[in-house]
């Protein structure tokens, strides 16, 4: 798992404040996949709302990390998420519940699930949530200590934005390390991740 924090991208004035702010209390942080935890320390406190976009491995690895640590996860409105990939990343399936088709109001379903879950992954299906509604949910998330991961949509006033992009594939079994058509198989997906937000130093990271 190689990675390095590199040039400063995105973020803003607030990020500077976080750097000099209070030390991070580790109990209040959501368990993170190793690749993310090393690179983005403290990017996801419990009880916050984060928007994820880009490559799906990011969500899947977060689900895997939270369930592996004994947390409960609900996945709302993401019928195409590959849970087998989560299992390969170490997820405990018995702690996952899936609401594939949450009906007309996925936000309401997520609000109910926040009562009992440690992490709710909410697929908005391209919709955006009005600011007034978003505020109510952010308050609820903070009160319940449940992290809401919004995917495939926009959430105004989200404290963290995570973005992942596939930066390359490793292909096993090519000739002389060069991928040859007809040979080998995909052995690893390399990701480039970027986090922006109030509590995060603006970092860009590369992980696999």
């Amino acid at each position: 798992m190689s990675g390095k924090a590199s040039a400063k991208v995105g973020g803003g004035r607030r990020a500077v404040a976080a750097e000099t702010g209070l030390p991070i209390d580790h109990d209040s942080l959501l368990p993170m996949p190793e690749s993310l935890a090393e690179l983005l320390p403290g990017s996801l406190p419990r009880g916050t709302v984060a928007v994820v976009s880009g490559a799906r491995s990011l969500e899947v690895s977060l689900v895997a990390a939270v369930t592996a640590e004994g947390g409960h996860v609900a996945i709302v409105g993401r019928p195409d998420l590959g849970l087998l990939a989560a299992v390969e990343m170490g997820a405990d399936l018995s702690r996952i519940a899936v609401v594939a088709h949450p009906g007309a109001d996925p936000v309401e379903v997520a609000a109910v699930l926040m009562d009992g879950m440690d992490l709710v992954v909410l697929g908005l299906g391209g919709r955006s949530v009005p600011a007034s509604r978003a505020r109510a949910l952010v308050a609820r998330a903070r009160q319940r200590g449940c992290t809401l991961l919004v995917a495939d949509g926009d959430w105004q006033g989200a404290s963290t934005r995570l973005e992942a992009r596939v930066s390359g594939y490793e292909i096993a079994g090519g000739r002389d390390g060069v991928p040859t058509p007809g040979c080998g198989r995909i052995s690893r997906v390399r990701l480039a991740m970027r986090a922006r937000g109030r509590s995060v130093r603006p970092v860009r990271a590369v992980g696999g």
């Binding site: 998420l81 390969e88 594939y169 198989r185």
Partner: protein, 514 residues
């Protein structure tokens, strides 16, 4: 009487005609006919039995083994005459009247039974009489006692016979027969001649039971019908239910009635039958099976879901044609109450689990029972098949066993996005690429055309053929020859790795690695 010996013979793999003795606490409790012929008797010490018959097979008694082997016989009898009652492994009783009428005579029914049991691999003897105990005694010589002749048949038997059958006599019946023997009463007939009052005043309650048997008086016959469903909760709906909200109220009150009776019986319900009758006599029933014993709320939810399902079926003709007038909840399978007692302090993370479950159950209440699903690992070759989704609260049974080897399974990593979209794979001339019967591409794939990701292939691997479930004509969509391939669409930083599947002469985009 010899059933333990027969079952033991089947277990150790010797013929039941060999000398076999079953021992408990060093005493013979059952022996085969061959052993009996050379002088082995019940109650004999093991050493002495072996001395009388050196080639004796000695087996320890095991009631579970006896019952297990007898199940086969009961099933064979049930095929022929339903609702046989088992007195003990090796002895079952059934009401003969219906069978005799059906097969023509009692003799014919008995022959059919002997044949059926022989087909199951065992010999049996049949006795028919007016009373159950008499029939048991008649089965030893294989007699059919004429109607009304019970007492006559019994009068010739030794008094000791009254204590011989453990399922008809309590353990201390032998004291009684011993005493009667020493008093000079040697046959059942002599015992039956004694006045009932004298027997009762001198020998006690068990002697009265024995006396009734000896006289051939009616006792408790085999019932031949289903057990009384005393745990049922029934509600007559007035006015009849035709709306879901009314059904929800009915379900809630019915669930509380059911759970009071379950609580009184000290059991929890894991399989619940919901039964409804409409005003014009249509009957609907559905059994709900749950992994954990149902709570009152869970029961009420299931009643509501089921009635919702019945009242709002998609097609008009499938719906019940009249409102529901009678609603009945029947616990089909119950477990003892300790199975559902929550631990006092809760296990580690138990509270979290319950909290999560409560939230999920609430969503289930909002969206319906099938909306919330729990994934479990299943067997299969494609990434979709390897996860089975079970509605929350149902028994988690995977569609296929994940512990089997499943050759041809795709290696790690699995795609993080699962799709099922038809796509086109083209060769250098723009002709579609197919997979031949030998599992090869017809031409090297060069281009992929799919909504949203059309482009040149910079790399591909495969095809990896699988030939699944060709024997199962019903599962047409998933059966037959298929092949999978990994491709890289585009190159450099914009490349996308995709998993393609070729089945039924078409390519499908099955997943994306991202």
């Amino acid at each position: 009487m010899d059933w333990p010996a027969v079952a033991a013979a089947a277990t150790i793999g010797v013929a039941p005609t060999m000398p076999i003795a079953v021992t408990l606490a060093n005493r013979v409790v059952a022996c085969s006919a061959a052993a009996r012929a050379v002088g082995v008797r019940r109650g004999l010490r093991r050493r002495e039995a072996q001395a009388r018959c050196p080639e004796l097979h000695v087996v320890a008694a095991d009631p579970a083994r006896d019952a297990r082997h007898f199940e086969r016989v009961t099933a064979a009898v049930d095929e022929l005459v339903p609702r046989a009652e088992v007195l003990r492994p090796g002895l079952s009783v059934l009401p003969v009247r219906g069978a005799a009428r059906y097969f023509g005579s009692e003799q014919a029914a008995a022959e059919k039974l002997v044949d059926a049991v022989a087909a199951a691999g065992t010999e049996c003897q049949v006795g028919i009489a007016d009373q159950l105990p008499t029939a048991v005694f008649a089965a030893r010589p294989g007699r059919i006692v004429e109607p009304g002749q019970d007492a006559v048949f019994l009068s010739g038997l030794s008094i000791r016979q009254l204590a011989a059958e453990p399922s008809l006599a309590p353990a201390d019946r032998e004291n009684l027969t011993d005493l009667l023997w020493r008093m000079g009463i040697r046959t059942v007939g002599q015992f039956a001649e004694l006045p009932r009052g004298d027997v009762a005043s001198r020998f006690g309650a068990d002697a009265v039971t024995a006396h009734r048997i000896a006289c051939g008086e009616p006792g408790r016959p085999p019932s031949g019908r289903d057990a009384e469903d005393e745990l049922d909760a029934v509600m007559n709906c007035d006015p009849p239910i035709d709306r879901v909200d009314a059904a929800a109220f009915a379900g809630r009150s019915l669930a509380s009635v059911l759970h009071r009776s379950l609580l009184a019986a000290g059991v929890g319900c894991t399989r619940l039958a919901i039964h409804a009758e409409t005003t014009n006599g249509q009957e609907l029933e559905r059994v709900w099976r749950c992994a954990e014993p149902l709570t009152e709320d869970a029961t009420a939810d299931r009643v509501r879901w089921q009635l919702d399902g019945w009242l709002n079926r998609r097609h008009q003709q499938d719906r019940p044609c009249a409102p529901i007038s009678v609603l009945r909840l029947r616990p089909v399978e119950v477990v003892s109450a300790e199975a559902l007692q929550l631990p006092l302090w809760g296990g580690l993370g138990e509270e979290d689990r319950l909290r999560a479950r409560r939230a999920l159950v609430r969503v289930q209440g909002l969206l319906g029972p099938d909306a919330v699903k729990v994934p479990i690992l299943s067997g299969g070759r494609s990434p979709i098949e390897r996860i089975t989704f079970i509605p929350l609260g149902d028994e988690p049974v995977p569609a296929a066993n994940p512990d089997q080897p499943w050759p041809g399974q795709l290696p790690e990593p699995s795609p993080t996005v699962l799709l099922d979209d038809p796509v086109e794979v083209l060769d250098v001339d723009g002709n579609p690429v197919r997979v031949t019967a030998r599992g090869l591409f017809t031409a090297d794939p060069v281009r992929l055309e799919a909504p949203g990701c059309t482009g040149r292939l910079s790399w591909w691997a495969g095809p990896w053929p699988v030939d699944e479930r060709w024997w199962d004509a019903a599962a047409e969509a998933r059966s037959g020859r298929a092949a999978r391939a990994q491709v890289l669409v585009g190159s450099g930083a914009t490349a996308r790795a995709l998993l393609l599947c070729y089945r039924q002469r078409r390519w499908y985009l099955e997943g994306a690695y991202e």
